[in-house]
């Protein structure tokens, strides 16, 4: 075989291999993309809380516990019997972030809609009895508007509605079950302040999102 033919053969094989790998990657990415409907991303997440449904509802209606639970990251204001206004708090500077309106639709069902925030989003939460006496399933459906690029940047930066939802569900579960959200940020270490800041960033990455 001439050297020219070898080059063409290698080029052909390389192109075929790249196309094959690209196709597998694209298929895998497509499989992991959330559903899109009318320009909205739609994700469904759930977490099982080892408490009866009444106890889970009781958590939301116990204002003192709720305020204590939300203290670091949101404030809550009741507008009327079934409507609430929630304002997120940026843990970095303590200032307000987005605002949302929460409406109770019935026993164990509520809706929320972000009225002022960087990403338009709305969602619904439903409480369902878990099988085998395993407590209560908190099932959430979130819809948010973002371009694929913005979503990718949000995921990379750890600032994305789906990540926030999963994080919130896990926090809620922990608060209802054991009354606290465990934290190791201030545990002793032999790190310099600069190393500690870098480690805190790793902690954030390892804490944000998850499987809930």
């Amino acid at each position: 075989m001439t050297s020219n033919a070898t080059r063409w053969a290698l080029l052909g094989a390389g192109t075929l291999a790249a196309a094959g790998v690209g196709r597998v990657v694209a298929r895998r990415r497509r499989r992991r993309q959330p559903e899109r409907r009318d320009g909205w991303y739609v994700v469904r997440r759930g977490v099982t809380v080892d408490r009866p449904r009444d106890a889970v509802i009781g958590f939301w209606t116990d204002r003192e516990r709720l305020d204590r639970a939300l203290a670091e990251w949101a404030s809550l204001e009741q507008l009327d019997g079934d409507r609430w206004r929630c304002e997120s708090i940026d843990p970095a500077d303590g200032n307000g972030g987005w605002r949302a309106e929460i409406t109770v639709d019935g026993p164990g069902v509520l809706r929320w809609r972000v009225t002022d925030g960087p990403v338009p989003q709305q969602g619904r939460v439903e409480l369902v009895d878990a099988p085998q006496g395993r407590g209560t399933e908190i099932r959430a459906e979130l819809r948010y508007r973002a371009t694929p690029l913005r979503r990718a940047f949000g995921l990379a930066a750890g600032n994305e509605p789906d990540l926030a939802l999963r994080d919130t569900l896990r926090r809620v579960k922990s608060l209802i079950e054991c009354g606290q959200i465990i934290d190791t940020r201030h545990d002793p270490s032999g790190r310099s302040p600069r190393q500690e800041r870098a480690t805190d960033r790793v902690r954030e990455k390892l804490s944000a999102g998850g499987r809930a």
Binding site: G135, K173, I182, T184, G190, Q195, R211
Partner: protein, 389 residues
């Protein structure tokens, strides 16, 4: 305060670090009186579990004295002498309520790493990397223990610190390994590894009804200790073909139950072991599976293989065909400390179990680096180094 910190792969140093403070109502602060090195620390130190950060305080097997309690602590008081389970458990989730404490849903604040690696996140573990929550460890003068009422247990007077310390981890791990075997009485049990956990597994198997226990290792002094202290039979795998020896010792049947108490850095001799070393060094596999393979191949048909040696990720040449076609029961897991510690403390108090002999090298915390060197290189007959801050 002084603490033994991880400084990078294979590097440790004793440093000044800030003292811990109460962070939640259920926290307690314990002044550490004895903190043991553990074989699983070596996996962290040597970078096989890539979730350590420079400056992390090591150590998870310890006992000490309560010096401060959060307002929500009910069962313990300042001044109590306690042993603390290395696994952190909230005591309130479904797993904790069913006594599967090492699977606690709420005690790992950094679950994303293990969720991606293993599908779900198990419990946090003190001093055990950021995969297990990033908790500061016990090789320090003081340690914060979350959910103190759940994880710390008051120790009766009269039992020395260096015996009590092993009821934190080595003894409950060994007990759980034997418990997994569901012994009915009269069985032959083989135990891979004559370290602290292996010897405690052997003793536990005897108490739970095994007629014969055979311990396998390559270090003559450890095998001699096991034989002398526990009255077990031994096999030195550096000198003897383990599978042949076990077949012969059981008249062809194989052991009824095989306990693996070695973990991801297990040793062997021969070319297949060299192949595993190369693959692990090149990070083409995370764990060496030598002793699990042997356990599966040696176990009698329909027997149980119980794995308590620590594995982290992916392995090569797992003999699934042997396990499947011999209808083996495989059981494994991190130990459920809180389930076993009270019962084991009682057995230590009565003298039925005496884990104190494992503490061959008590050393001050300042000599922690030397302590790990003795332990890792198996120098001077070191079975366990116990650090005293």
């Amino acid at each position: 305060m002084r603490a033994l910190c991880w400084e990078g792969v294979g590097k440790l140093a004793v440093r000044d670090v800030p003292e811990p403070r109460l962070r939640a109502d259920g926290d307690i602060i314990v002044r550490v009186r004895a903190s043991s090195v553990c074989g699983s620390d070596l996996h962290l130190i040597n970078g096989y579990l890539p979730a350590m950060r420079e400056g992390d305080v090591l150590g998870h097997e310890f006992m000490g004295e309560v010096v401060e309690t959060g307002p929500g602590v009910r069962r313990l008081r300042v001044g109590d002498r306690v042993v603390v389970g290395s696994v952190v458990a909230c005591g309130a989730c479904w797993y904790c309520r069913t006594e599967q404490y090492s699977l606690c849903d709420n005690s790992n604040p950094q679950p994303v790493f293990t969720e991606k690696l293993w599908g779900h996140s198990p419990a946090g573990i003190l001093g055990y990397s950021h995969a297990a929550g990033g908790y500061a460890g016990s090789h320090a003068e003081y340690i914060r223990v979350p959910f103190g009422d759940i994880g710390a247990f008051a120790v009766p007077e009269g039992v020395p610190d260096d015996a009590v310390v092993f009821t934190s981890d080595a003894l409950p791990t060994g007990w759980m390994a034997a418990d997994f075997c569901a012994l009915k009485g009269g069985e032959v049990v083989a135990v891979w590894g004559a370290g602290g956990v292996g010897q405690m597994a052997a003793r536990s198997a005897q108490i739970l009804g095994a007629d014969r226990v055979i311990v396998i290792d390559r270090l003559p002094e450890r095998l001699a200790t096991a034989a002398g202290r526990l009255g077990v039979e031994t096999i030195n795998y550096a000198e003897t073909d383990v599978l042949e020896a076990l077949r012969e010792m059981t008249a062809g049947r194989g052991p009824d139950a095989c306990i693996e108490a070695v973990g991801m850095e297990s040793h062997d001799v021969g070319p297949s072991y060299a192949y595993d070393r190369v693959k692990q060094a090149a990070r083409l596999e995370t764990d060496r599976l030598v002793s699990v393979r042997q356990a599966i191949m040696a176990c009698r048909k329909g027997g149980t293989v119980s794995i308590v040696g620590v594995y982290a990720g992916l392995v090569d040449k797992f003999p699934l065909g042997a396990a499947m076609n011999k209808a083996l029961v495989l059981r494994m897991g991190q130990m459920h400390a809180q389930r076993y510690i009270p019962m084991l403390l009682d057995r230590v108090v009565t003298g039925e179990i005496d884990p104190g002999y494992l503490a061959t090298h008590p050393l001050p915390l300042e000599q922690g680096v030397r302590g790990y060197e003795l332990f890792e290189k198996k120098q001077d007959g070191c079975l366990r180094t116990v650090l005293h801050p």
